[in-house]
Symmetry: C7
């Protein structure tokens, strides 16, 4: 039975994107194009709380492709799949196709 | 006589879930499915206080299944049963069956 | 002449409960039932102050049975009896008979 | 000419109480009754300031008998008498005769 | 396919300016004129959040030429080009031609 | 030409009082009466700023005789005379003749 | 082409004043009169921001002669001239001719 995790506070559950090391046509990609440490946002917490307790929504949302820091993040295994929890302030930015 | 603990502030009393290492039918489960560090919330404190003293309710509630950090938590023994106290900000998220 | 101490701020004066190591009928209790580090609240301070100086009442009150942390607390001797001062945020919870 | 010190902020000027080591009738007191580290409040500062600059009056007042921490305090000599300055948050409580 | 990064919070994406070591006419420039550690702002985050969650816009904007600190900044590679992420409070100032 | 210093924020410019080691009549004073580390306030800054930028006036004023801490203070030489800058929170109190 | 730097936040761009080691008439000045670490304010940032994002103007302004701390400050070279950036809270005071 699949488990779903709803993070607390400003925690963000991320599935890391493993970049393909060759194209679908079988051409090996040069190393530089595989380096970006990015992930897909799976679920987000309700956000931190302001001084009077109101939630401040996190800066990224479900489905976003995000740039991750090289270090940090807490590994979580749900149904044999690896995920990572980050605080939203540690996520460097969102990635978009031009 | 059983003792009941009502935590202070944003402390959360948790009973750890010991995952079954075999199914009820006696089939041994692979190690990976037993690894999640989770627990059941037994009781919660009234929450931290905002700048003017109002309580900010904690982010989890009695009965929640929660994902716990690998380290931390204060062990408490009540009537020979082991429990753990966590600050609600240290609890990583709530677990739900899909 | 007996001395009475009224703590300042969120300090809590506690008299530790020494658990009986045998029942009144003389039966030795197993070690595990004597381990809880608890105490009786003797007096409480008016509480910390919010940003504008108003007192935020402490989270426990006179007469409460409280669960204490394993470390910390300041020993105070009043009229040859030993007491301990704790900050109310260091008290783990209140204990109640079910 | 005698000097008077008015402390700044939440500083408290205290004269330590040296407990008599024998009663006025000459009976030596047991050591345990002489141990309390207490003092008399000589003068208090106007208190710390809240975020908008208003003074928050200190938690003890002139004439109070106070319980002092074992360490800390700044020694001040005025007219050959020894006094100690404490921050009001370091004073443990006020002592009262029952 | 080109990737675009929108930084989170007060992060600023900067492309460093590599100063020409000779003029377009081929005259070698003295070392002192090549030393300034500056960059072009490529994109900016929405800014940090105030106590109630409102964004505080960052202090520099897209297109600004900025003076960078000698240390710090997180290297990011997008489409084989090198960029740097800085917190806006770490950027020393904006550079303008007189 | 004499220089005048107006301190910034809650800085206080102090001229230390060197206690006479003998009375004007030539009688040597015992060491204990010369020990107080005091000074005269020469000029004060406008004070720190509250959260909205308003100045919070410092706790001492020009002309006050102040009790100084044994350590700290920044030495400043103006027109060959030695002065000391203190943060107003480091000044222990004001001294008054009874 | 001359570059102009507008500092961010409460940063202050300062040009240090090198005191003449002899008078214009050629008389060598004694060492003590050359020691003051002072500078001229060249440009100031818009100031830090309060909790709701409003700028709090810095405590010194363009053209002020300021007393600098002995340590700290970030060296910046603009058009071969040396400048220093300070946070306005690190500037000790403003110097005025009486």
């Amino acid at each position: 039975m699949a488990k779903r995790l709803i993070p607390t506070f400003n925690r963000i559950l991320v599935e890391k994107i493993v970049p393909p090391s060759q194209t679908t046509a079988g051409i090996l990609l040069p190393e530089s194009s595989t380096k970006l440490n990015s992930g897909k946002v799976i679920s987000v917490g309700p956000g931190l709380r302001g001084t009077e307790g109101k939630h401040i929504p996190p800066s990224v949302k479900e489905g976003d492709t995000v740039l991750l820091p090289d270090y940090g993040g807490t590994q979580v295994k749900l149904d044999d799949k690896e995920f990572y929890l980050y605080r939203d302030e540690d996520i460097l930015g969102t990635l978009h196709d031009n």
